[in-house]
């Protein structure tokens, strides 16, 4: 029993790393690795099935989209958008959240009250509404999608960092730094931040998965990156109207999203159990 379970966990981690490495590789080099230009249209090849179906050909391993674009290439290049959106949005919201959390937790009092009320307000406005309104106003560009997700996502970081900071503020090493007149910035970033970085990394990892799902939700509403830029969310959302005649335009990007998000979640969970003495496996 013991060894079997351990191997299972190990295997899971290995698969997770493999998937994420592939994801990152595609995100960085997909454009060069893809067999075709994913925006290349060939109307005569509209909705060609994957190679294992009759009528499919090895030229398009995973079949083609309605306008004859190669789906495999779309997935390979589309990884870029998912990677970019998730990393940038998480980094941005993490940055904002951590700074607010550190300041609110360390200074306390009025500053804390203001920050926490802001967080409450943010939490009570539905994400989707902000997305509709803001992207509607600014246009469905990559940078806007990142911005909107970041704006709506900082609260988790702020709350966690604030709680931890409040706890750390009373610890001796911080007190002694304060007594020796260390500048606030230095205390926050040199003494407190390193102690909360693990929690932040765990949340950020899980958030990457969440952001990829968000992005596909925005695509469903027509609020995310628009073609010809290929993105998994858009391929999934656009393909859904053909689901009854051709599953491949939506199924394969769907599987890509699913596998990557699942792996990211496993990784996040794994990191948490590794770093958090409280939650043990």
């Amino acid at each position: 029993m013991t060894l079997k379970n351990l191997n299972l966990t190990q295997l899971k981690i290995q698969i997770t790393w493999f998937v994420l490495m592939t994801f990152v590789t595609l995100g960085l080099f997909g454009t060069w690795l893809a067999p075709y230009d994913p925006t290349h249209q060939d109307l005569s090849q509209s909705l060609a099935p994957p190679f294992w179906h009759s009528g499919g050909s090895p030229a398009h391993l995973l079949g083609t989209a309605p306008l004859g674009q190669d789906i495999l290439s779309g997935i390979m290049v589309g990884a870029q958008v998912s990677l970019l959106v998730s990393l940038c949005a998480v980094a941005l919201s993490g940055l904002v959240g951590v700074v607010i959390g550190l300041i609110a937790g360390y200074l306390g009092g009025r500053v804390d009250t203001v920050c926490m009320r802001l967080a409450d307000i943010q939490l009570s406005i539905p994400f989707i509404l902000l997305a509709i309104v803001m992207i509607g106003a600014m246009g469905p560009k990559l940078s806007n999608v990142i911005f909107v997700i970041a704006v709506t996502n900082w609260v988790t970081y702020a709350k966690v960092v604030r709680t931890e900071t409040m706890r750390l503020r009373e610890r001796d090493f911080v007190k002694s730094a304060r007594v020796s007149a260390t500048p606030i910035g230095l205390i926050l970033f040199k003494h407190i931040l390193p102690n909360v970085i693990n929690s932040i990394i765990v949340i950020a990892t899980l958030d990457i998965g969440k952001v990829i799902i968000f992005e596909s939700g925005l695509s469903f509403l027509g609020l995310s990156v628009q073609p010809p830029t290929p993105s998994w969310g858009a391929m999934l959302a656009d393909g859904r109207k053909y689901i009854s005649i051709a599953y491949w335009p939506s199924m394969f990007p769907g599987i890509a999203i699913f596998v990557v998000v699942l792996s990211v979640n496993f990784l996040g969970n794994f990191l948490r159990t590794q770093w958090d003495p409280q939650s043990k496996k």
Binding site: Q41, G136, G222, K241
Partner: protein, 509 residues
């Protein structure tokens, strides 16, 4: 079933002839469920304008004139009309014994009230543009009403069939404006039962209708925005008719058991609109040679075959074949990329040009896909299109604020006359027109004064030829509306915006 004759006797005779089969008919039975992607906002016929309003209105209300199932203009709530020789006074003899759904009789008072309400700016009637030529409404006697126009309008009767709904005066005054919108009453073949916003509208056969009692007892119009879900509803039998299916699904629907497809000309033309009116100072599109080149660069037939699965018909100019008498000699710009390249070079763009294109997503059938194909084909002749795809309402909202050099648009047919398109889509004064040509403007203005249909046809063909020669737009196609229907339903869609009229629909057991 024609009531266009101004002869009162003939009309009366026809009514008698019509009421006979009604007596022998069994009363309406069964339920017809229709699933459509969107729905009317308000149910007040004087306060709303989208095509789902029209669907509701045409089953629920009637005007003095309506369109019959062949889309012909026929008298409805009026028995006859007399048009003064100056074309400014229309005197209507009202039909006797027409009852509103609450049992009250329609009178001249109701007609006067309806028109005054429709043209009152406070009503905020979106269809005001159609009938704002009405100056005043006079009651001549208990069953005669005269409409006085400010200026001559050759297609006034056609407009009445679209925007001249008759509503009950006493009822509205007693329940108020909101009360009426919530529980509307008309004279049409179906009565309103209930409505749940974003869910469905339930209607019931009006067995007291003066001419055509529907064959189905209950009519349910469901709002189902997802294409895949509408198809699923048809497949499971939860819906009998599903509207506006994406063309690629046509084979799939036909392959389903117990289900067939109907496709019908929509009267709606699709084109690439060049903005050569405002803010187009240095645009290369101002050069007709460039516009012609772009027309040659698009392989319309390939798009119709491969993307629209033949659910469209190519057009040469701006006129829709199902609406207007099109000049058969006018051939569409041929697909010829080499020629397009050469023409661009001749126009002074040997290395191609860069241009921004703005298209909506979800406003028109497959608008995203088609815009992508068009951008791609233009790229092939050296026109580097920077395609911006925007969510529909954002796209419309910015229409008046932002300069769209090029965009993929459609223009519908509401009055079964090219004039709708001409006045509202091509005249430089129109909101939806981005084209400016003084000669064309002048000719459009003239068209209102031409009453004889033949003369109108040739006049519009002349305008069409001018647009064609000027390559005012990239002319693409007239679309068809694709409908999925269960075999047990007997129904024929009617042309144009009139499609969803269920007077004659019946459902087999």
């Amino acid at each position: 079933m024609k009531f266009s004759s101004p002869n009162r006797f003939a009309a009366l005779f026809l009514i008698c002839a019509l009421s006979l089969p009604n007596l022998s008919f069994s009363s309406p039975t069964g339920k017809l469920t229709v699933a459509v992607p969107s729905e009317p906002a308000t149910l007040d016929p004087h306060k709303a304008s989208n095509r789902y309003n029209y669907m509701f209105n045409s089953n629920m209300f009637e005007g003095l004139y309506v369109r019959n199932d062949k889309a012909e203009l026929v008298l409805a709530l009026a028995e006859s009309v007399a048009i003064a020789s100056d074309g400014l006074t229309y005197t209507f003899k009202l039909r006797k014994g027409v009852k509103f759904h609450d049992g009250s009789t329609m009178t001249a008072d109701d007609v006067k009230f309806s028109f005054e309400r429709a043209i009152n700016p406070n009503t905020k009637n979106p269809l005001l543009a159609y009938i704002k030529t009405i100056d005043r409404v006079d009651i001549v006697n208990t069953d005669t009403v005269a409409l006085k126009l400010k200026e001559r309008d050759a297609i006034f009767l056609k407009k009445l069939a679209f925007a001249g709904w008759i509503v009950p005066k006493n009822y509205i005054q007693s329940v108020g404006e909101d009360g009426f919108a919530k529980k509307p009453i008309g004279t049409g073949p179906f009565k309103f039962v209930s409505r749940s916003i974003n869910e469905q509208i339930e209607m019931e056969a009006n067995e007291q209708h003066w001419s055509s009692v529907p064959k189905v007892k209950s009519l349910i119009i469901k709002t189902v925005p997802e294409d895949a879900v509408r198809l699923a509803l048809l497949q499971t039998g939860e819906a009998d008719i599903v509207a506006e299916m994406p063309p690629p699904l046509v084979d799939r629907i036909n392959a389903l058991r117990g289900v067939k497809t109907l496709s019908h000309p929509s009267g709606e033309i699709y084109w690439i609109v060049f903005n050569i009116k405002d803010g187009a100072k240095d645009s290369p599109l101002l050069n007709p040679m460039v516009r012609k080149a772009l027309n040659h660069a698009i392989d319309k037939q390939s798009i119709i075959t491969n993307v629209l699965k033949n659910q469209a018909v190519q057009i040469s100019g701006a006129l829709a074949p199902s609406v207007a008498a099109v000049d058969k000699n006018l051939q569409p710009y041929a697909y010829n990329p080499a020629l397009a390249k050469k023409m661009l070079a001749d126009a002074g763009y040997p290395n191609g040009l860069k241009i921004d294109m703005y298209s909506s997503v979800g406003r028109y059938t497959l608008d995203k896909d088609i815009s992508l194909v068009i951008a791609n084909q233009l790229k092939a002749v050296g026109v580097d299109v920077n395609l911006n795809l925007w969510e529909s309402s954002k796209w419309v909202g910015d229409l008046s604020k932002k300069y769209y050099p090029m965009s993929y648009q459609a223009f519908g047919n509401t009055v079964f006359d090219p004039e709708g398109l001409m006045i509202f889509g091509l005249h430089s004064k129109a909101f939806w027109s981005f084209y400016k040509n003084d000669t064309v403007d002048k000719m459009i203005d003239d068209s209102l004064k031409i009453t004889e249909q033949k003369d109108r046809d040739t006049h519009f063909q002349k305008i069409d030829k001018m647009l064609y020669d000027d390559a005012s737009h990239i002319f693409l196609w007239e679309s068809k509306i694709l409908i999925g229907m269960r075999d047990k339903v007997n129904w024929k869609p009617q042309p144009g915006d009139n499609v969803y009229k269920f007077w004659n629909a019946s459902v087999d057991k």
